[in-house]
Each structure stands twice: as structure tokens, then as C-alpha cells.
Amino acid sequence: MKLASFLSLVLITGFLFVAINKLHPVGAPLGNPDVLKDRSSAATDIINVNTMDDYYLRNSQTETGSNNVVSSIVFDYRGFDTLGEATVLFLVVTSISMLLSLLYKREDVDDYEFRKPNEFPGDVSRIISYGSYLLYPLIITFGVYLVIHGHLSPGGGFQGGAVMASGTALLLVSALITRHVHRTRRIFSFFESLGLTIFISMGFAGIGTTFLYNFLANGSSTLFGRAIPFGPNPGFLNSGGVLPVLSFAIGVEVFFGLSIILVTLFHVARHRKDME
């Protein structure tokens, strides 16, 4: 058994070392490097386009109205893929929540006192609690900025939700959320389901053409539909079509889903003595 493991390890690693010699060198990817030059003003221009990435770079700004090409791929061209990822996240959160709820009794849930920041137990440092009070609004603000500006600057629903969930982890470490775990989980699971519901309903709203069709882009300027010309620009918040809405939905779902995982696991870890 050990011999077979060793042989397969050597085989796979050797194959990888051979394979990286056959790949293109770093810094010379496939596609036309000058694909952004000499673009006509048409909505879709496929002259000199060789690969899929060339098409995205050349056309995503005029087709979706989003400055960030990565966001336009995640939420528009590959929106169905993102729906699958959101469903996987939802399933994982559901199964973790179900499994961990076997590990604590319902009655020993609300037995913690809520602590004001000057009444700490001995094992929680005062610096940590005051520091988390100071840092938490900044983290949430940064996460909301990332979600809202997802179609203009680096960011989007996934990153913003992850950053806000790290704020939840900060609060848990500094022992400020320890009470009403059931109520917290109920609220969080409602908002998590709300995010996925918004995503799916925005997908069905465009079903006149296809599922998840970007029906708001290049339309009314008040409904995120500002048409932007090709090229660098300072960025406009009301562009992007359905993309900011989907980014918001994914941000809500990722934030509350990851927070449910953290809150439940933290609560079970606090009850470790009762389990044994």
C-alpha cells in the first residue's frame, strides 16, 4: 500500500515536471496582446480576436457596461457558473448547521451574560475588546465598499462578503457575540436565503432572452444602465446593468453564510466541556 502511494506520488510529480516544460513560458499567454488597440465603436467587435479572453477584453466594457472585466465574467458571461457556486455554498452552510446542531443541547444556549467592554472576564484582554470595537466598523465599511464598487474597482460580492465575515470572526474572538445564538442563526439564515433568492429572481427577470441575461445594461441611466464608451474612464456607479445587483446578492449570501459557519462552530467550541 505504501509502495503504491509512493509510486503514484513519484509518477504524478514527474508528469507535472515534464508538463511545465511543454507549457508556454510565463508571461507569454495565448491570445493577441494588442487586442485593445484599434477597436471600432461597434458594440461587438471580433476583428483580431483569437481566444475567449481576447473577446472578453475587447467587448465586455461595451456589452455589459462594467469596467472590471473579472466582475463582468463572474456575474454576466459565467453567471450560471456563479449560481452553481452560490448553491454549493448554501448547501455547505446548511449541512454544517445541521450537523453541528446535534452537538449542543437547546437549553444551554442563552446562558451567557452580554459583557460591556469594561466588564471582561479574566481571559479576554481589554485591548482586544476595545480594538475590535474600533476595527469592526472599518472592516464592515471596507466590505460594503468592495461590494458596491464591484463593477468599477477590484472587488465584488465574493471578496466583500469574505471581508465582512472576517469582521464577524473578529467579534467572536473578542467574545462580544455570545448570547442568543439561535436568534442570530435564524436572522443570518434568513438573509443568506434572501441573497440566493435575489440572485435567482434576477436570473428569471431576464428570461425573455436567456436565463441571467443582462437586460438592464445600456438602457435607462437610473437603473444601472449607463452606456460607457470603450477605453479608460473614471468609473460610473450607475453602469453595469444587473451586475451590481447580482454582486450585492452574492455579497449578502457569502457574508451571512460564512458568518453562520463561524458562529455555530464557535458556539459548539464554547460548549466543549458540556459535551464530555
Binding site: 505504501k2 510529480t13 455547505v92 479608460p232
Partner: protein
């Protein structure tokens, strides 16, 4: 040649992760090893998309079009979602590890109930 090290880094990360998955005995160590393997795969995709003297694929306040070259956006979009899903599956694996520890009293995979030693 200059950035060939990145490919070697990818292969070494995959090698370490795979060898630890095959030969380590502790379940949490195996989860860490899977995370390292996943980091190697993520780095591989980002390295594939790299283009020197390029900018990030974002048009906001970019240089003017004559000098503008962008890295490939599709691998970045794939890896972006993969990182979040990787965290979720890691959490699920850890919860399974907790349950295995509660049922068996150990995290050593040799001592689990119903597992025979084939060595």
C-alpha cells in the same frame, strides 16, 4: 526563464500537498495538506494568465489605450470563486473531523473503527 520559478513553486506545492495526503496520519493535517494543494492549483491558474508589462483587467483609471495591455481575465474569475468554495468545503471537512473525533476518540486514521491496516 525569468519567472520559471513560479511553475516550479506550483509543482512543489502540489507535491507537498499530495505527499502529506498520502502519508500523514492526522486528519486535520490532511485537511491542511489539501488546502496547500489547492493553493498550488490557484497559483497555477494565475501564473497562466500573467502577462509582463500588463495591468489588471480593470478599465477604471487605466493607462491610455495605446500602451494598454491586460492580463487574461478568465482564470482570475475562475479562481476567485474557487477560493470561497474552497473555504466552505474546508469547513465541511473540519466538521466531519470533529464528528470522527467524537465517535472514535482519536484523529489518527489508523485507529478509526472499521478501518483495517493494510501495511
Amino acid at each position: 526563464m525569468t519567472d520559471f520559478f513560479l511553475y516550479v513553486t506550483v509543482v512543489l506545492l502540489v507535491f507537498f500537498g499530495l505527499s502529506a495526503v498520502l502519508f500523514k496520519r492526522n486528519l486535520i493535517k490532511i485537511v491542511i495538506a489539501l488546502n496547500i494543494l489547492e493553493a498550488g492549483v490557484n497559483l497555477f491558474f494565475i501564473v497562466l494568465a500573467y502577462r509582463p508589462e500588463g495591468t489588471a483587467p480593470i478599465f477604471t483609471l487605466a493607462p491610455e489605450l495605446e500602451k494598454l495591455r491586460m492580463v487574461l481575465p478568465t482564470p482570475q474569475a475562475l479562481i476567485l470563486t474557487n477560493i470561497v468554495i474552497g473555504f466552505a468545503t474546508t469547513a465541511l471537512m473540519l466538521v466531519f473531523a470533529v464528528f470522527i473525533y467524537r465517535n472514535n476518540g482519536t484523529l489518527d486514521i489508523r485507529n478509526l473503527k472499521g478501518v483495517e491496516d493494510h501495511d
